[in-house]
């Protein structure tokens, strides 16, 4: 450690480091061990130990002054880049949360994946994910943050495509990685902007309460940091880049489409990564860089978060795939968190992140248990149906009571009914949204109202899911009367994690007062930025109105799906299709981005072959032509002249030779003729 820390802090650091390193050790052991059932226990024990360390760190560090410890990593030019850990409330909370979610999921996975050929590969990947995620939350600088940010995405890639022989899974993981890469590019650009403005990567130096970012200002279109002044547009770019990063990881519009597809991975993975932890990394990033955002940028966050929440909820109400419903629900809830960040409800956003992690993880574990049984039915009866389709389920509450009860608790928390954790965190966001909109122009009222509507939509899709899966009759049996059904709750490795998570969905874990979110310990520990008086009528009206209507919505869903009343809304109109086809985002992206890029790339390759190489070949031909021409000149002009001379000489020679006959008479005659001619000429002249 570069600087000397007090003994207590130093041990905390080492505990935190141990917590990060243990999963990577498990990864390494599993990686080299290859096959075998030991992998599950190795990873689980590692994560168990990590949880203990994380708990110790949490206990020592919660509400304590932050610890920042670094060692030199490398020097590039004049910049020394350090590697280190930064422990404050935000990081220790996530350190603990990730572990507390990961441990039950590990235990659950040992049963869930027990018959899979890739059992040890699964745990290898899972440990690697835990390492990346835990490292992400404790690192202290932007380079390392980016590194683990992307490694988290990479482990998600591996796990989504875990069953790599399935085409859908492989397409989904490619999509997820590329979508996340868009976010990574955004993050990279933001880091570059921050680096060129502040010349450091250190998170603490940049974003602490009295850090560089807090002390720089945006005035008159300039971004001023002490002596360095650059146009404000770079600040906007940095925020836009960070937003892209958040949107990619936390599945916000416009980069949300990968998350539903990511459900191709094993359900336990969806529970850990695509519901509770990795997707929360975007919110965590927002929490880390919060001081950078200006008021208008926060408004933009609020708008996008709110829109995403509404959009995803509106899609979730019509989906039939159990995991897809939950995926859209995750997108929607993440939208709430982003919106909460945007409206300045920093504490509530993080609080909701924590509560959501528990109930959403639990819902996925429930889904996994149900799907497991459905697959069992399918394999036992040699049928061919989609085991994730809720239309085939029904009446499972009697056969799977523990699963059912935990599902209901998680569902209620997701809806946000009283006595659950979700009530505390979500109502806080709603109330603050109303308060926030009071300080804004009238148009901004749309945001809290849309949020309210989203809450009711949430109530509806949760109710629909629970009723379709657990109530009524088992629909497959109605079609196939002779069906063999051996449906029951899972083994203890299923139930213990689920029960544990269900307990964590209840209010006592977070606040002794089930109705006041301000009393929640997580909320109190983050400096709430807008501490309005409790006197405000919103604090009473909104929870009451919200919950009463939510209950009505749930009853309505009960009437429709259990009592088999007719749905008042038709299913064959464009609205239904719009929701069912997920607002056509995938199709639009395919048309607007994917196909044009492929067309451009094909076009450029043709240009490469025909254009550049064509030019080269053209030169080639010209040179060959010139060469032929010069060869022709050589042959016909230069050589031709030579041949001409030769021919001329030969002709003359031939002519002269004709005199050389060898006969004396001719010679005499010639002599006489010559003399006579000469005499005549002499006389005449």
């Amino acid at each position: 450690m570069a600087q000397t820390l007090p003994y207590q802090q130093l041990t905390t650091c080492y505990y935190a480091l141990t917590a990060v390193v243990l999963p990577v050790l498990a990864f390494a052991v599993n990686f080299f061990l290859k096959k075998g059932k030991a992998a599950g226990w190795i990873s689980t024990i590692a994560i168990g130990a990590t949880t203990v360390f994380a708990a110790i760190v949490f206990k020592q560090q919660w509400n304590a002054p932050l610890i920042h410890a670094t060692i030199p990593w490398f020097t590039i030019g004049g910049t020394a880049v350090n590697a280190g850990i930064l422990l404050n409330n935000l990081s220790v909370l996530l350190l603990l949360l990730v572990n507390v979610i990961a441990l039950p999921v590990h235990i659950y996975s040992m049963a869930y994946m027990s018959h899979d050929e890739g059992f040890s590969r699964y745990f290898t990947y899972l440990s690697f994910f835990c390492f990346s995620m835990l490292a992400l939350v404790v690192v202290d600088n932007l380079v390392l943050f980016y590194a683990f940010w992307e490694l988290v995405g990479f482990s998600s890639y591996l796990l989504i495509g875990f069953w790599f022989t399935r085409d859908k899974a492989v397409q989904a993981n490619k999509k997820a990685f590329i979508m996340n890469r868009i976010g990574d590019v955004g993050l990279l650009i933001a880091i570059m902007v921050l680096f060129s403005q502040y010349h450091t990567f250190d998170l603490n130096a940049l974003f602490s309460a009295d850090g560089l970012v807090a002390n720089s200002t945006l005035t008159n279109g300039l971004w001023i940091n002490g002596t360095s002044t650059i146009p404000a547009v770079w600040q906007y770019l940095a925020c836009a880049g960070l937003f892209l990063a958040v949107a990619a990881k936390s599945a916000q519009f416009p980069l949300h489409t990968w998350l539903p597809d990511a459900m191709e991975g094993p359900t336990s993975v969806s529970a850990l990564i695509h519901a509770a932890t990795m997707v929360a990394a975007g919110i965590f990033l927002l929490g880390r860089v919060y001081p950078l955002f200006s008021v208008h940028e926060l408004d933009a966050l609020a708008i996008i978060g709110c829109f995403t929440a509404f959009m995803a909820a509106s899609i979730a109400i019509t989906q039939n795939d159990l995991k897809r419903i939950l995926a859209f629900s995750t997108i929607s809830q993440l939208g709430f968190m982003v919106m909460a960040m945007g409206i300045g409800a920093y504490a509530s956003s993080l609080f909701h992140l924590v509560t959501h992690a528990f109930f959403k993880c639990l819902l996925f574990l429930v889904a996994g248990a149900v799907i497991h049984e459905m697959q069992h039915i399918r394999d036992e009866n040699k049928l061919d149906f989609d085991p994730q389709n809720i239309l085939y389920m029904g009446g499972l509450r009697r056969k799977m009571p523990i699963t059912f009860i935990t599902a209901v608790i998680a569902g209620l928390a997701l809806v946000g009914l009283p006595f659950t954790s979700g009530y505390l965190s979500k109502d806080g966001i709603l109330i603050q949204a109303f308060e926030w909109s009071d300080t804004k122009a009238g148009v901004f009222k749309i945001i809290p109202i849309l949020t309210l509507i989203t809450s009711w939509l949430t109530a509806f899709y949760v109710a629909r899911l629970v009723f379709k899966v657990f109530f009524g009759k088992f629909r497959l049996s109605e079609v196939n009367p002779g069906l063999k059904l051996h449906v029951h709750d899972g083994p203890w490795k299923f139930n213990v994690p689920m029960i544990f998570l269900a307990i964590c969905c209840l209010f006592p874990v977070f606040s002794l007062n089930p109705f006041l979110y301000e009393h929640a310990w997580i909320y109190k520990s983050f400096l709430p930025s807008n501490f309005l008086e409790r006197m405000n009528p919103y604090h009473t009206i909104i929870p009451i109105a919200l919950n009463i209507l939510s209950l009505l919505v749930i009853y309505w869903a009960y009437a429709v799906y259990v009592l088999d009343k007719k749905l008042p809304l038709k299913q064959n109109n464009w609205l239904f299709a719009f929701s069912y086809y997920q607002w056509y985002f995938n199709e639009a992206y395919q048309k607007v981005f994917v196909q044009p890029v492929l067309a451009i790339s094909t076009g450029l390759f043709a240009f490469d072959r025909k254009g550049i190489d064509g030019l080269i070949h053209f030169f080639n031909r010209i040179i060959l032509w010139v060469a032929k021409l010069s060869a022709a000149i050589d042959r016909y002009v230069v050589d031709g002249f030579l041949h001409f001379v030769v021919a001329l000489v030969r002709q003359i020679g031939n002519f002269a030779r004709s005199f050389q006959t060898g006969r004396v008479q001719y010679y005499l005659l010639t002599t006489v003729v010559a003399i006579v001619a000469w005499v005549i000429l002499k006389i005449l002249i």
Partner: protein
């Protein structure tokens, strides 16, 4: 004995040994070559370990700060009134070259291991290989322009024959294309070299000199000589120094290769046998980048900073153009060839920024790309030797058939697309960071160039992941059916022994980039400092 000289000429010795050995011993040629390469690696690591860092060992423009120097008078010819013709055997290294030597030595070993697949005319093959080997180390060490040029040209000949004789079906076309392209650049380089020779005088002896370091000092130029900065001579109406720079740049840009001078590369790669592809991508492309740093920016820093905008632009174009072209390929080897174009674009962009981050990133990228492109071409060779096909659409589900092979492919692909933890990430991130910072510090490159360069990272993910999806995942389906399935055995110990060191180095440099940065930092800072005075 000077370590550097030993490093350069050991291959020549081995080549001679092979040349006099009877053909009946041809089985041993590859072992002799391998031994040579291993000795070279040991030597280069020794050089690396003994390489001193610190501001007094920065090199670049200070002749006395170079290390492992050997300077011997080579050609001395009394030219009467003009003075002596002074050509030295002058080798030495500084931070710019030291890491490239180690990288090249390791890549050589991998190339030798890949040469196991060569079955015909072994004697000729390994002799040419060793000559090429010598020339490569010569180029990275030569500090006399004449010597540099000699080694530079000496690389061409063996490569021409290596591609033309041991290559694929269109080898004649590819080899002549490669040869002419490169020759085109180097012929003009010769003219500039002579011009520089006639302009520069050794301050000690008063003779004209080919000494590269002395060419960097404006005081050594004869007043009124063609390349003197003060005389403002022109060639065809353009400033002479700019012409000199552009000509040298084109010569090296062909080697890098920079779009639009790149089209020899895909053809050469596609036709070349695996080991030659490895050398080509792993080592020879780096000579282009090295030449731009050492020769172009060193001798013509004024012209270099003036044209940095265009260099950066060409870098960005190479990044995007190469990546988009890679996306359009069906032939796996051609895809990787275009990805090389894209990755080498980062080198040019980093250099063009003339910031410490950018140039360090560029050198790191050269080292990193040396390992990764070797690994990629080796991996292509694995499939090609087994079934003699490389069309992406003729394969599916290789992950099931060849799990270990796929593991290495995944490592190589992800490392190449810049996954953190691997060297390419550090390299690309800092090339871009340097390019981005440039606007703020020296005003050479606009920020959008770095932003566009970052898009290359995105496209990189696109073509690599798409290839993984098409070729390796899914249920196995091969064009060649059962016979292919039998041929496609998983990688053997020999192939592993080539791949593991490469993967390990990529990982090591990704986790501990200081292994490179520590050695190069002083030289880079000096170079940046040196060029800064020319920025107006």
């Amino acid at each position: 004995m000077n370590l550097l000289t030993l490093l350069i000429f050991i291959p020549l010795l081995a080549g001679l040994v092979i040349a006099v050995m009877p053909s009946s011993l041809r089985g041993s040629f590859k072992y002799i070559t391998l031994l040579t390469a291993v000795i070279q690696l040991v030597l280069s690591v020794l050089i690396y370990l003994n390489f001193k860092t610190g501001a007094t060992h920065a090199g670049v423009v200070h002749e006395d700060q170079f290390q492992f120097v050997q300077k011997l008078p080579w050609i001395r010819l009394n030219l009467g009134g003009v003075g002596d013709l002074q050509i030295d055997y002058f080798v030495g290294i500084d931070g710019v070259s030291v890491t490239l030597l180690v990288m090249s030595a390791l890549v050589m070993i991998v190339a030798v291991i890949a040469s196991w697949e060569i079955k015909t005319n072994l004697k000729g093959y390994f002799i040419l290989f060793l000559i090429l080997d010598m020339a490569v180390f010569g180029v990275f060490s030569a500090l006399d322009f004449f010597l540099f040029y000699l080694f530079y040209e000496l690389m061409l000949l063996p490569l021409y024959f290596l591609i033309g004789m041991w290559g694929g079906p269109r080898r004649e076309y590819a080899s002549i294309k490669f040869f002419l392209y490169t020759l085109f650049g180097s012929v003009f380089m010769l003219l500039v070299m002579v011009g520089l020779y006639l302009s520069v005088k050794d301050p000690v002896t008063g003779n004209h000199t080919f000494n590269i370091i002395q060419m960097m000092n404006p005081a050594n130029y004869d007043a009124g000589s063609v390349f003197s900065a003060l005389s403002h001579q022109t060639i065809l109406g353009m400033p002479a120094r700019m012409v000199g720079f552009v000509v040298l740049f084109i010569a090296f840009a062909i080697k890098v290769p920079v779009v639009p001078l790149h089209t020899w590369l895909p053809d050469a790669h596609v036709e070349a046998p695996t080991p030659v592809s490895i050398l080509l991508a792993g080592v020879l492309l780096k000579i282009g980048g090295y030449g731009i740093i050492r020769i172009c920016a060193g001798i013509f820093p004024d012209a270099a900073v003036q044209s940095s905008y265009w260099l950066g632009l060409l870098g960005v174009i190479s990044i995007l153009y190469g990546a988009l072209n890679a996306l359009a390929q069906r032939d796996l080897k051609r895809l990787i060839a275009y990805s090389s174009v894209s990755h080498m674009g980062f080198v040019l962009l980093g250099i063009a920024s003339f910031t410490a981050e950018g140039i360090s990133g560029a050198i790191m990228q050269m080292v990193s790309h040396g390992f990764l492109s070797s690994m990629l071409f080796f991996l292509v060779g694995v499939v090609y030797t087994r079934v003699h096909d490389r069309d992406i659409y003729n394969f599916r589900g290789l992950a099931t058939l060849m799990p270990s092979y796929t593991l290495f492919v995944v490592i190589a692909f992800f490392a190449s697309l810049g996954l953190p933890g691997f060297s390419a990430f550090v390299a690309e991130a800092f090339s871009l960071a340097g390019a981005f910072k440039s606007a703020n510090t020296n005003g050479l490159l606009p920020q959008w160039m770095a932003a566009c360069g970052a898009l290359g990272i995105l496209l990189g993910a696109g073509y690599f992941l798409w290839t993984l999806q098409r070729m390796f995942f899914g249920t196995p389906l091969l064009k060649g059916g059962e016979s292919w399935k039998l041929s496609l055995t998983d990688i053997n110990w020999r192939e592993r022994s080539a791949l593991i060191p490469l993967a390990f180095m990529a990982l090591l440099l990704g986790v501990m980039p200081s292994l490179v940065f520590n050695k190069i930092n002083d030289s880079v800072l000096l170079l940046v400092d040196f060029t800064r005075q020319f920025i107006k």
